[in-house]
Amino acid sequence: MQKLFTNIFTTKKSKNLLLEMSSSDQVDPNASVLSIENFSIAYRSESGDVKATDHVSLDLKRSEILGLAGESGSGKSTLAYGACRLLRSPAIITGGKVTYRGRRAPKDGVEITALNAKQLKQLRWREISIVFQSAMNSLNPVITVGDQLDDAIRAHLPMGSAARKEKAGLLLDLAGIPRQRLSSYPHELSGGMRQRVMIAMALAVDPEIVIMDEPTTALDVVVQREILTQIIEIKNQLNFSIIFITHDLSLLLELADRIAIMYAGKLLEVGSAKDLHYKTAHPYTEGLLGSFPSLTGPKKALAGIPGSPPDLRTLSTGCPFFQRCRHSSSACKSITNDLINVSKEVEVLHLTACPFHPDPGSDKRWKAPDLVDSTVNFQAHAAGEQDASQKGFVL
């Protein structure tokens, strides 16, 4: 079998088993590790294709945390899994390509969308690994934690058993679990510890990209905080990139370098956490930001987002968020959803799909052509559609 990825690190040479990646040559920090271009995935069904991911283009930079946010059914998991070719029928890739440019990959990158099964096996885990949703339940209940870690290492790295054991111990150290837990079974660990084990497993063979799909959703806030802090700490040591999928935007704002907002299979806004928070350029992001209560600062009226996501089979042209948008006008039905850069700084991208976005730093007026007064329009919508949730939530 031909090696797709060069194994530039042999275990005998590297003294620190875990830090082998970061000790390598310095590379351009702005280089992207994963480029997703015009990527589309559909779920085939009798009543038509469900376009779960529709012409999405996204770059993941080296040692960056990219947040992927959106409601359930917005296609964020589909995008991430599809990019690793983890989906099976009825999901099909209908267009676009994904290129991986890791340090071990050939110079001009590897087109993941063109790999065969054997090559994919080399890619997965070693290059891109995933912490799945409800990951705590994906550990094998009848095998010890140590054996499960060992299994992953043995499958991907040419190491002796003593070295593997040492590496598994190091991984648990990293994840903040005492080493004697190597001989524990999953049921002997708490939910938070199991989650940490899953993160250790994802890092077992030093991947360049780790995809985390709602890794802390089932945990309570204190444990969530511990684990996120741990993730960042490990990331700072090992220099990998993270795609962090969640519906909790408040968490992402604190955690991620860049955030991509997905809705109905499309990217609606991409930008740095700061830009998204203070220079929101899409009504959907505005809705998401207004839907979680904050612990600090004065209490503000929370609006939430009325209605529910559209049926992806019968999506009409124009903005997919049209029906639920408080600033929408008839002009929204004919927009192209192409991402526009609204950033005024050089080399900083802040993309939005809404052409009627307010100017950054202005009075935050959304400017759809026939929208005379956004507040009036909002009230008209409220009366016509869901009266319930439009009521501001101030207590």
């Binding site: 409601e71 359930s72 150290d173 903040g176 679990i177 005492p178 708490s190 939910g191 938070g192 945990l219 309570d220 806030v221 204190v222 444990v223 969530q224 905080r225 511990e226 996120l228 802090t229 741990q230 960042i232 700490e233 700072n236 519906h247 909790d248 935007l249 408040s250 968490l251 704002l253 604190e254 955690l255 956490a273 700061k274 928070h277 809705g287 998401l288 930001l289 839907s291 979680f292 209560p293 904050s294 612990l295 600090t296 600062g297 209490k299 929370l302 609006a303 939430g304 987002i305 009325p306 529910s308 869901q386 009266d387 319930a388 949730s389 009521k391 939530f393 207590l395």
Partner: protein, 437 residues
């Protein structure tokens, strides 16, 4: 602190502070719940306790809830906040009559309730209803929405005729805003989204015309954008139906917006209670401070998480079974930055620090270093006089540099391997006024 004498019997949680020897705390009046201004008292739990026996071969007992006092008032929301395993759902189940209590008393409309027979259970249920966490599991997938609403109506309002029942179903769907009702009434649960399902579950609990709604994490399974709608629905219904609501949650931020009173529970003990705004803005108990500092803070861009500083307390293990079985001492001791021998050996009583705030901590004066307790007069109507700039001293990232206080039990419990995170030099503590020098 050292010259204060504490009695060993700490069962009397509501007793005046003077009896407990808190000379520094001069608030002498009775505790008044922050929720009580909304309406009359409906459901009250007095010294509610639940003890589970561990299975064979262990002979140990776990007290999941100890001496909990909770009062629910008409049109008010009381939030019960704590981490998983803290016993908050146990309290909700006890109040709902789902599980038998070990000791204590539940008082509904002034009458002590003892749910034993089926008939009594049903009568109790028509007053006290529960909404569960998981709307995907709590609805029967082979029955339509109509069935889910029809059954509680015909059980709890047996006098209604068929046409009246149908009318009631429509009215319920209107109340929870599943509109148009015609469309929703014949749908199966799988045809509904999570938020819509939870609305059906709420409508079902309203079908009994209850006085009390116990909401056990009603929104934690829902999308963030949907949560608000469901919460504002419950908020709206409590006014229209004169409901007393118990809102069980681990999200202390939503309690701030939604609840009149917030009760913080740790390891089965109530550690702090008070008006939601006060509790979230000026947390007094070290555990509440930990909860508040752990909640995601969107305004803290690139803040504490990104800089990967493990704050004190978060590195400590959670309460273990042994902590729940051993009866003595404060259960937060292993994770608490202020813990000392006394915390291990004596259980801290719930002390009234102002008219409607109570805290159970031996070291309130240290966890809240800038509080001058003496300022609080018995007649003060609010806690406004308390100044609490240092409330986050133990856990807040902004204070990690200066206000760290050493903890003598940390090393033996710190299993997370992060004791290496550099702890700042231990500041000298002035024992007179409890502030950090």
């Amino acid at each position: 602190m050292s010259d204060l004498s504490f009695p060993t019997d700490t069962n009397q949680q509501m007793s005046p502070n003077t009896q407990l020897g808190y000379s520094a705390l001069s608030y002498q009046g009775d505790f008044v719940s922050a929720a009580s201004s909304r309406g009359r008292l409906v459901l009250e739990a007095k010294n509610l306790t639940k003890v589970y026996k561990l299975g064979f071969p262990s002979k140990d007992y776990i007290s999941a809830v100890r001496n909990a006092n909770i009062a629910l008032y008409e049109k008010s929301v009381v939030a019960l906040v704590g981490e998983s395993g803290s016993g908050k759902s146990t309290i909700a189940s006890l109040l709902a009559g789902q599980i038998p209590k070990t000791s204590g008393e539940i008082v509904l409309n002034g009458n002590s309730v003892n749910v034993k027979s089926n008939r009594k259970f049903r009568a109790y249920k028509s007053e006290v209803q529960m909404v569960f966490q998981d709307p995907f599991a709590s609805l029967n997938s082979i029955h339509k929405v109509r069935h889910h609403l029809k059954r509680p109506i015909s059980i709890h309002q047996p006098h209604l005729k068929k046409s009246a029942v149908e009318k009631e179903i429509y009215s319920l769907l209107h109340q929870v805003r599943l509109l148009p009702a015609d469309q929703f009434i014949d749908k199966f649960p799988y045809e509904l989204s999570g938020g819509q399902r939870q609305r059906v579950a709420i409508a079902r609990s309203l079908a009994a015309r209850p006085k009390v709604l116990l909401a056990d994490e009603p929104v934690s399974m829902l999308d963030v954008s949907i949560r608000l709608e469901v919460l504002s629905l419950i908020d709206d219904l409590r006014d229209r139906f004169n409901l007393a609501v118990l809102y069980v949650t681990h999200d202390i931020a939503s309690a701030r917006y939604f609840a009149d009173e917030t009760v913080v529970i740790y390891g089965g003990d109530i550690v702090e209670r008070g008006p939601s705004e006060d509790v979230t803005q000026n947390p007094a108990h070290p555990y509440t401070q930990l909860l508040v500092s752990a909640a995601p803070n969107p305004d803290d861009l690139g803040g504490s998480i990104r800089n990967a500083k493990l704050t004190a307390g978060t590195t400590k293990p959670r309460q273990t079974e042994s902590a729940l079985t051993s009866g003595i001492g404060c259960r937060f001791t292993p994770r608490c930055p202020f813990a000392d021998r006394k915390c291990e050996e004596q259980f801290p009583p719930l002390v009234t620090i102002s008219e409607n705030r109570q805290v159970a901590c031996w070291h309130i004066e240290q966890s809240l270093p800038n509080v001058s307790f003496k300022k609080i007069s018995p007649k003060s109507q609010s806690t406004a006089e308390i100044t609490l700039q240092g409330a986050h001293s133990a856990f807040g990232s902004e204070h990690t540099g200066s206000n760290h206080i050493s903890h003598n039990v940390s090393d033996q419990f710190d299993t997370d391997g992060h004791s290496k995170t550099s702890q700042p030099a231990v500041p000298e503590r002035d024992s007179e006024d409890g502030t950090v020098a």
